[in-house]
């Protein structure tokens, strides 16, 4: 039961983008089309899950054992940077089309606060073993992808509507994101 709670909470109630404010740069950068948004979401699921597993093991068996917890920021970000390089290489071979579509945003997953943020959150939550941390990371990434795809759909529609001159482009995107965040707040009644 607890596992279902973790999943629902990470995807809807504490959505990584709309509630925790992580991963905003790609949110406004890649969300112009649903297709690209979905691809980005998939890549983030992969990177975030593996990153959290690796950083969790690092934290438990290296940082805490040798009492060097203050090295957390440095080691975590290096692990993530290495992982993203790996994903880039694999993606280039497996799906060059998706690689091209994601363009600059793929290496930018390294500086995506969502990946580092979720990793830090997972190791910092009491009672989170390896399985729960992995579940948390996977669900958070799914929530990220979900918010991204919904927002892309919204933006595709926004392009077709009549927006006041001063609000065109970025400002109306932000206000729309705010309304989406407001909608997601409705989920807080579940948990």
């Amino acid at each position: 039961m607890e596992y279902i709670l973790i999943i629902i909470s990470a995807i809807f109630v504490n959505n990584v983008i709309l509630s925790r404010f992580l991963g905003l740069c790609p949110f406004f950068g890649v969300s112009k089309q649903v297709g690209t948004a979905a691809g980005m979401g998939g890549a983030v699921v992969f990177v975030m899950t593996i990153a959290t597993i690796v950083t969790y093991l690092l934290q438990k068996y290296v940082l805490v054992s040798f009492k060097i917890e203050y090295m957390q920021t440095i080691t975590f970000i290096l692990v993530i940077a290495a992982l993203v390089q790996l994903v880039e290489i694999i993606l280039k071979k497996v799906s060059p089309a998706l690689y091209q579509a994601l363009g600059i945003y793929l290496p930018l997953i390294t500086t995506n606060c969502a990946v580092l943020g979720v990793a830090i959150l997972a190791v910092g939550t009491d009672g989170f073993g390896l399985i729960k941390s992995t579940l948390f990371a996977m669900s958070s990434a799914i929530g990220f992808g979900l918010a991204l795809v919904i927002f892309a759909g919204l933006r595709e529609q926004l392009d077709l509507t009549d927006v006041p001159e001063g609000m065109k482009g970025v400002p109306i995107a932000f206000v729309t994101a705010g309304l989406l965040a407001l909608a997601f707040m409705g989920f807080s009644g579940i948990a």
Partner: protein
């Protein structure tokens, strides 16, 4: 490039938040009040200035292929310093800012300036650039934090302005997005007229 220009461009022409749209996560996540926004802005400025200086000093020593990871290690070291200092001297602010302090390391502004400026200029100019961009960022955060605090809590810098509660939504997630959207629209309008 005039020295003064390097410093001032970070405030208006190339303001990190309102013009370049970088560093959005801490912008929305830490501006629940004016003082939180200011604290976050100053912590980021420290990391930005120090890493700009160090990177411009060692830029010739770093091979091109490991450029980005090296920058990240340098930036992460200063973030760790800021983390520990804040934990010791301003524990209340440290608790409020929470997760966003270690997240300074992935703030696109810092890596962006390292790549665009510090790796190509001398230490003094890099310091000016870091100081200007950082303080411009701090200014943007303080403005956003002030608006959200006035509308949401009825106070500014913890001084109560009007009686009664504000609209809670502005202190929460949706309010952050909406206020920033309108602020950007306002600034776009003002810079068009100027």
């Amino acid at each position: 490039m005039k020295k003064l220009n390097i410093f001032t461009k970070g405030f208006f022409k190339e303001n990190a938040v309102f013009v370049m749209m970088l560093g959005l996560c801490p912008t929305l996540g830490t501006t629940t009040s004016a003082i939180n926004g200011l604290g976050m802005g100053l912590a980021t400025t420290f990391v930005l200035v120090m890493s700009n200086i160090v990177i411009s000093l060692v830029k010739r020593q770093i091979p091109d292929q490991v450029r980005i990871p090296s920058f990240i290690v340098i930036i992460a070291s200063f973030v760790t310093i800021v983390e520990l200092v804040m934990q010791a001297y301003v524990p209340d602010l440290y608790d409020v800012l929470g997760l966003f302090i270690p997240l300074i390391v992935v703030n696109c502004i810092i890596l962006g300036r390292a790549e665009a400026f510090a790796s190509k200029n001398n230490a003094f100019d890099s310091m000016l650039d870091g100081l200007g961009m950082g303080l411009g960022f701090a200014m943007a955060l303080t403005i956003l934090g002030s608006v959200r605090e006035i509308l949401g809590s009825g106070s500014i810098f913890n001084i109560s302005i009007y009686k009664g509660d504000g609209a809670l939504v502005f202190v929460l997630a949706p309010g952050a997005f909406i206020v920033l959207g309108y602020l950007i629209a306002l600034i776009n309008r003002l810079s068009e007229k100027a």
